[in-house]
Amino acid sequence: MCFATPVYVGLTSSSVLSDSNKLITVKATDLMGRPVDVTVMLESLTDKNGKAVSDIQFIQGVQNIADNTRFSWDLKSKALPKGFYKAVLSAKSTKNDKTLILPKSTVELKVIGKLGAVTTRVGVADSDQQSKTQWNDLNKGQKLPKRLELEPAQKLVVKIGASDTLHQVFVLFRNKETKKEIALIAQPETEGKTDYKLELDLTLQAKDLGYNSGLYEVILVLGDFLIEDSVEWNLGEVNLQVASGKSKAVNPLYAITYGMKPEIKHEFRKPEPRPPRVLSDAFTVLALVPLLILLILWIKIGANIKNFPVSLSALTFHLGLAEHSITTWVLFTILALFGVYGVFWLKLTMFEAFKWMTAPGLVTFISGHRMLSQISLSRKG
């Protein structure tokens, strides 16, 4: 009694078949990876819609000489349109060994090809369709001969004529300054056909462009699962003058700015301009002149202080509390008050000056009052 041995058939080559490489290689072994005596057959190849490829039916795989677990098929001669396929493989025992379990296995294959001829027409049209659209026809890889200038009332039209249906037909507008990219999608112009069209209205679609006018690079991206040379095609530059508007700004209270901020230096207020020193000095002299005039005039009319006590003893006598010494007290206290005033000006604060002034002020008040009453009495008398 023999144990049953399941046979595993699996793809070892790439599942992608291109024009240059249409070789399928599979490996047939038992589950432990040991060789088994089988041959492998490619039973059928069906496309995505379930339609079998007519000239692929039960093709015997070519056994590799060096490694007899490998079988390969070269489908170079077969006409295979691009697409996804399912290949059904079956193994067959060469010696009709009944212990081998031989399930059919299905592998997915993809046939890719080159992107065929593509023509692109870039045109500038008026939004109101008044004038005729000016077209620039470009073949694959070509660039616009000169920069296109567009105004808000115009629209940019890009038409792409391809030979295959493409999954990705995007037109990228890359702002030359901010490097921001806006991708727009070209839609098939007619259902099921391979011509695509994109219109960018600079007034209606200004929001998509973030209301940013300026130089843009136009990049056409053509891509598909079945194309081996998907392309990023720089069509050239356009200068878009976009309708004005304001894009939604982020609340600065919640925004976070990374990186250093500009330094701020406080600008100090400038002091007010002052008059020149000469001017103030001249006016100081002018202010002192009346005193001088007073003295001169006094001397002229013969003013004197001959009643002033001259000797020191007389002075001390005068400082007594007798009636006749009052005038001297008044004079001294007035001098003292002005002295305090002068010192206040130089260094005291107002409150300190008040304190200093109390004593001479009080004496001046009392003695001055008595003196003045004396004078008025003597005048009456």
């Binding site: 995007f170 990228l172 990374y258 250093m260 002299v285 004197n304």
Partner: protein, 452 residues
């Protein structure tokens, strides 16, 4: 604890004394290593095979001292918190297929976890369930619809792609410019197969860590494009990171496979491009997990002092136009130890509603981490703040505000004599002299006719 030690101190013999000393040293050791203790991590998976398929990732975390608790994402006993205490500091959600997380793990509970400072690493997939979508939405990230993948016909991995061009090789140039998040070691392209993330432009906290190239888009590869894709070009975010205002960190990836052993060790080759033996995934994931679990880019600010130039203690108030010295210590957590942070871009602002002064802090030579700024207080009085708002990509937010008042000059602090006012002084003094002379003459005059 310490009083216990002291009470028993005298009764202990020498050997016991030694033991106690050892205990003290040990407790001290644990305290200095406290950041190491924050490594309890809950790992949610939707199938236990993930533990094996992502073993390199998990092993590295365990080697770095993380305690990983693997739980099924729909486990009804799941809980992040017990008796008001958080059980985990970190959460890894590698359960893209889950529609609802089990137990107490509602999106609100997870948001609360982040509010409490917890970190999250989560990954989705093109077949992501509602749980991961809701979680993503909580942090300002939106996953594309089920079935949609990031497709790039120009930058797919030519060796391992299954034909849908969804296994894309992303250039390391597309990483965010923040070495603290993404590391400096990523050289090879990154392999990515998964869903695209749309980042909420109004959420200022989200960072786009990895974006796809200009030619990519997100769509269901089995259907023709009939409407504008979820994301196109560089808007296609593959990995997003968020640092909350409390410095909790969240990383989102649209691809769970990005973290898998298979992608770590896979070779990468773009169609017609250079062959890289090993993808950059492992290097990036290493940097990312260090960042998200706060091993990297953690800063703190301490010992803030300010005073007038030439003084040592802060004054009760500053007067306008005084020169002020502000000092602060900046430290960075490195391998669990706080070390001085070195940078020349820390700025100090002196703010009264608006900043009046913004100056760069300078390092004080010879003292690690100590920074200093000197400036003259503006001639505007009011209540001011010394403000540091240090926001750098990848680093924790460092915010500090110290309030001081600035008063105008006192009346005695103005200039006492102005030459321009000399005429006024002269007239005042000449008046005084005049009064003295006049009263003297008036009182002591000897009139001619009387004496005669």
């Amino acid at each position: 604890m310490s009083s216990n030690h002291q009470r028993s101190w005298i009764q202990l013999g020498l050997s016991q004394l030694l033991l106690v000393a050892l205990c003290l040293i040990f407790t001290g050791f644990v305290n200095t290593q406290s950041p190491q203790a924050n490594k309890n991590t809950l790992v949610l998976v939707d199938n236990l095979a993930i533990k094996e398929t992502h073993s390199t990732f998990f092993r590295r975390l365990q080697e770095n001292g993380y305690q990983l608790s693997f739980k099924m994402s729909d486990d009804q006993a799941l809980s992040l918190k017990k008796y008001g205490v958080w059980l985990y500091q970190n959460l890894i959600v590698f359960a893209p297929g889950t529609d609802e997380l089990g137990g107490d793990l509602s999106p609100e509970a997870i948001a609360e976890f982040v509010d409490a400072g917890g970190n999250i690493l989560a990954a989705g997939s093109p077949s992501a369930g509602d749980a991961i979508r809701d979680l993503a939405a909580e942090f300002g990230v939106e996953l594309d619809d089920v079935g949609s993948s990031v497709i790039d016909h120009l930058n797919y991995d030519a060796r391992s792609d299954k034909g849908q061009h969804t296994l894309i090789a992303v250039d390391p140039k597309n990483l965010v410019d923040a070495p603290i998040i993404v590391g400096k070691e990523v050289q090879a392209p990154l392999l990515y197969e998964g869903s695209s993330l749309l980042v909420d432009p109004e959420n200022p906290l989200v960072l786009e860590v990895l974006v796809a190239s200009s030619t990519s888009y997100s769509y269901d590869p089995t259907k023709p494009i009939s409407e504008y894709p979820h994301t196109v070009g560089r808007n296609t975010v593959l990995i997003a990171a968020l640092q909350a205002r409390n410095n909790a960190r969240v990383v989102f990836s649209g691809s769970l496979d990005f973290f898998s052993d298979k992608f770590f060790s896979a070779s990468v080759q773009k169609q017609g491009g250079q062959l890289f033996e090993k993808s950059g995934n492992e290097a990036l994931v290493r940097a990312l997990s260090d960042w998200v679990f706060k091993e990297n880019g953690v800063l703190r600010l301490s010992n803030i002092t300010h005073n007038k130039l030439g003084e040592t203690s802060p004054p009760a108030e500053y007067t306008i136009t005084e020169e002020v010295v502000y000092r602060a210590v900046f430290e960075e957590l490195k391998n669990g130890v706080w070390t001085g942070y070195v940078s020349d871009d820390i700025q100090l602002e002196f703010v009264r509603i608006d900043p009046f002064v913004r100056t760069t802090l300078k390092r004080v030579p010879g003292k690690t981490g100590l920074y200093e700024a000197r400036f003259i207080v503006p001639d505007v009085y009011g209540v001011f703040q010394f403000k540091i708002d240090y926001h750098r990509k990848g680093y924790t937010f460092v915010n500090s505000a110290t309030q001081v008042s600035v008063r105008p000059l006192q009346h005695t602090q103005y200039e006492r004599f102005i030459p321009g006012a000399f005429p006024y002084y002269a007239s005042a003094f000449s008046m005084m002299v005049g009064v003295c002379l006049l009263s003297c003459v008036f009182l002591h005059i000897r009139e001619k006719d009387k004496s005669e």
